[in-house]
Symmetry: D4
Subunit: 215 residues, 8 copies
């Protein structure tokens, strides 16, 4: 079998590092990959990692850090931020969306992007969103997380001119279980110019925000 | 073959008349059924009728009336209204939802329920909805029509305490074509106590409103 | 990260309290939220809570009560009932629907609404339903739970004039597993004016009943 | 290209003739096949045929007969019935199901099976079904057609011990459009021993009834 | 809460007993129901029961018997068979379908119907099926179990004139996981008169066979 | 019925004009709306308009222009471009995607954004894409249209650092018919930071590009 | 707008020519492309072309030929066959699959591959298939077309060792309408090593056969 | 119950052995089948076996070997290879696809086919694939594994003339979870002649490759 080849050129080609997707890999596989990162003195980001796997990896890589809520493990230095203020605001409809929102946050922070996280601004209590509107407008890019019917990014996209990335979250049950209803609702949005990524793809939302900040 | 039997007891049993579903019936079949209604001096409501079929039926039943936008044909007297004000308000996100909204309106009017129709109060221009909120709160029941992502009833259900019937509309394209995304979004709603009927089921939304007014 | 903000205005705005959705929250997150309710002397309702989580929360909040069948935890006083009789009747097709039915019941009881629960009135033994019809008609609102093909609310809606909320239940297997067939069958119902909520959404069915009682 | 080969052994092998599926064939293709039937003096049954195609075929095959409601064309003698009474009863919830019900009826009649058709016995007016129950019980096999939520065969299967073939019909709109909700509802049925065929498959329901009568 | 009511009239009404669906019930709920059966000296059949639940119930009901492969528990005497030979043959494509096939078998045996089970007659090794054809034709009714693409009942329905009940099985992976592909393939069958029940519904297939034998 | 209300504040609120969705509106409805635009001297953009409707509208509004390939009608002056070069590049895999690509282009041009359109750069002939890469990198935002499997935006997102908007197109047949496979493939993309809009939503892709350029 | 670029290198790169997909292109677009082929003296194959479009194109390109059953238009010389016998056998379950089978045949013939077409060998009359088995085994590659449940390629793959390409066909109705059930059944096949292409993709099946013959 | 019958003729009929599908079988069932293989001195291949089951089987069958990554157990001698070089190349987009790729590899090796496995050649880092192209072209058949959007086989099929078997992998989350998006993307591919097997069906891809090598 041929060796696994890391895409270390991704940083120069795309401006972002290649994240290591932890969910379907064994500890041995992740460990091998992290060693290659250490050898190259590259910062590493592992996503979708269980606490059990993370704890075993921390024994071997004591300099790494595990961010439990997001299921992310980082190793190496974060990039320096080039901006003095938060460029990306991440909104969630409720506490249950926190894991996905945090994955986006860490993925951005690793790349030196400052972020602000606002929770509990869901559309069922609209005043909570409207109260924060001026604050939200200060950001260059907005990531709006929502499960269930996923209406938050639609409402927001009717209110502010910023680029808005709808990030569907898999919390829910019955017809909203798994996040597909939220995702399809965002894609079907009547608000002009809403952008969407895959369900629970906090990392992808973050990378998209970086592409926009680079534009 | 046995004869078709009309459910004329429905009025006394359920408080509503049996509508004649025009879509999958031939003109001959509808004509036969309308004759039975005439014989019993019962008010008739035909739904989902094409203009072509309606025009042929009007020749045979000159006292009938065709409501083109809604595709409804009515024959016989409407019930007297027992209320001095509009009891049901019907909201739509845009002009494209008008056919379905009108079906609900006529189904209610036939039963003597006064209605008010507000269009262009969709969530992409939230101020248009918020401006009408006090007016909407005067109704006993609200029917909120929406296609695309279907967020209007969700937003509304977070703002007012009335019973709200989400009526998904099949306008849309791509993932929102056929109205399923709107319907599933309403069912998945994070707002407490939103009720939903089938896509384009204006008649059903009207009958549900009557049940609620009878409660 | 900004603090979680409870929607304590929901009671005055919508007439119902904001339930805490327990399924996707950690014990720590729920505990923090319950503390805010205690501070405000507000009655709290946590839904979709596992026995394990509940038991740990009861240690910290000994005045709370866990309702095991429904997976609900309540803390604080229930509202006084303003009615001398049961206003909402909840029907189930079988013992397997009991959890969802009970969630609806507790959500109503918390708000001071008296309820009656009738089990084993499914359509496979129609006489069991027909025998209870007069009793059912005494209610102002009926919540009809059903899994599998979900025909119970349809049959009922052809028999009585009350508002009927179809509550699909996720019991089933094969094509009926997850409750989608029941839900879609209720939405597709040939009976006039049947209303539907999300699968297993006992809380939502209860809140809809309260909106109707308030109408 | 090799010639088309008719399965004339089907009668002796399975007890039924091979029907010619008219929908996806050109008039030339059907004409060629009918000529082979004439040559073998075999009775032919063409299903799902449009009026336009049928009229052109009748010019060439004047002894054939077109049954417009069902879209069936028959040519040659029907089998003699071996029974003095109706062995199969076909039920429909409404006039809109008539086409599919009639396809089942003709497919049975061609094979010498006597049938009775009862329309308008849908579950929204349950008394209409209950009134006919004793008559229905006289049949050996029952075919129950239903569109929308498809509850009729389920209710029936809880009331009588006969074999019941649920025949889903594609009438409907929104979530019930195309008949899938009816079909899945029948498969998910809580009533014991309900059997199901494909949507609109009147021919198949008839052939299944013949297999049962042959058992 | 009202008491659970067993449908003990089902035997006289439909010719079959009401099975107790074990999957979604607690041991306490099943135990209560079994006690009612004992009190009435009625034979009981519990389906979809885990080994763990079964073992606890056997302690309380030592006269009951657990059939592990099928997940069925029976209590009380089986009906006497009125036939000297196997009336129903149950076919499976492979060992993996055995659980579902056995549920059908036990459900039939409880009602006094003799059965024969043939395994490993799947269509990938067609000679294995063709070799048993004469033996299969001796049955009055055939239940054909299949997972994956579910072609077995289709092939069989082209070869023999008996009533054939297609019983889709949830074994499979990828696109065939959960049994939906097998079920839809059976419904779409080009063979005339194939009948279908829900995925994994061995009990339902058995009850349908009894209805046919009663016809 | 209340009057239709145009959201003329959208320009100042979001930086974009409200497009008129032509597909589900009658000529009369569109005409009424265009008159309001004329009265306000606002530039109007009608999307998804058939040639037949457009020709009738041009009689009434001779200053309007119909763009046949895209199905768009514009009336009034386009905004002045503030940039000297193309800011948005629109890519298509083939001639069949041209309609959707053109809708994006016109929606951008109306707002004063210069665009370049590159066709026939699909992944089946990868050299055609690789040959244009340097040219593509000059844009600030890339809109990549694709039907069928929709791989073009994924491949591109691995090659260049710009924000890329995946625009799924409904050309295709079989499993790719309707564009859902393309859309889901873009959402599932292994490339970091790909953004997606609804199928055929050229207008939405354009509005999203404007939001990004405004960031 | 940039010019459309034909992939004339495809022949040397992949051994096959680029077909022109006629369905979503206007006559003008196809005409432009055919002119480029004429200029390069390249053989052209247009697929999925309606008779109306074809007739107009034949006026401009009199040397082209339209193959009506398959909806294919060819222009220029077919490759010389390098084999003396049929290398690919194409099977269909019935006359209704003929269009798709013919598309595969012409796509192969254009590339100089000899083919044989066998119709009416569907699994409902298994003897018709078994009778032709020795003849089928003479081919190097087999393309098996099937609609409805799509069992033909599965049965065949259990009988012969050749590479078999399952080609699902969109004929059918109800659950088999559109060909998805056939396609999924082929993918789920219990027979070892069955290969599948998109629904109605006769061209793709042909190109796959060429790849195999080149191996 | 009849005995399980192994299809030992499969080798002579199809050129491949019958694999034992381990996932839905008990250890006892697999053990019984392996004993039959030992008795006949036939090589056995068990697929989709958990480590726990494998370890218990190894106690009883010490000559067997368990291949943990692929979940395959083999017993008996592998066929001798008739070729001096790798005939099948298996590609994966990442480490997460390794299990499925390895199942294909072992299934081929058992039949005496030499294989080469290349990992980390996914389309997000296209240079990694392009760098290996000459090496890949040396193979007679290519198996391309991919999860998520599944674009790898499409890109490859535009670059090389070999037969390519797209093997969708169930790694992914959100819309790509379960592998359906990858599978449908491969079927919808714009590249000519791509062939597809079921999700995770490494064994089937291998058997298809053998059929092609035998052609």
């Amino acid at each position: 079998m041929s060796e696994s080849i890391i895409d270390f050129q991704r940083q120069s080609r795309l401006g972002v590092i290649e994240a290591i997707w932890g969910e379907h890999k064994t500890i041995e596989q992740i460990s091998k990959i992290l060693n290659k990162y250490q050898l190259e003195s590259e910062t590493a980001l592992v996503t979708r990692l269980s606490k059990e796997k993370a704890e075993q990896l921390l024994v071997e890589f004591p300099s790494a850090e595990f961010h439990e809520i997001s299921g992310c493990l980082t190793m190496g230095e974060f990039k320096k931020s080039s901006s003095s203020k938060e460029e990306v605001i991440i909104l969630t409809g409720g506490t249950s969306d926190l894991g996905v929102a945090s994955e986006a946050e860490i993925a951005l922070n690793v790349h030196g992007i400052k972020t602000k996280l606002l929770i509990d601004v869901g559309v069922a209590g609209l005043h909570r969103l409207l109260n924060r509107l001026e604050e939200i407008k200060l950001a260059k890019v907005v990531i709006a997380c929502a499960g269930m019917e996923g209406a938050l990014p639609t409402v927001l996209a009717g209110l502010i001119p910023q680029p808005i990335i709808g990030l569907p979250v898999s919390v829910g049950y019955g017809i909203s279980g798994g996040g597909k209803t939220a995702m399809e609702g965002m894609l079907a949005s009547c608000a002009p110019g809403l952008l969407v990524v895959n369900i629970d793809n906090g990392y992808g939302a973050g990378m998209a925000a970086i592409r926009i900040l680079q534009a």
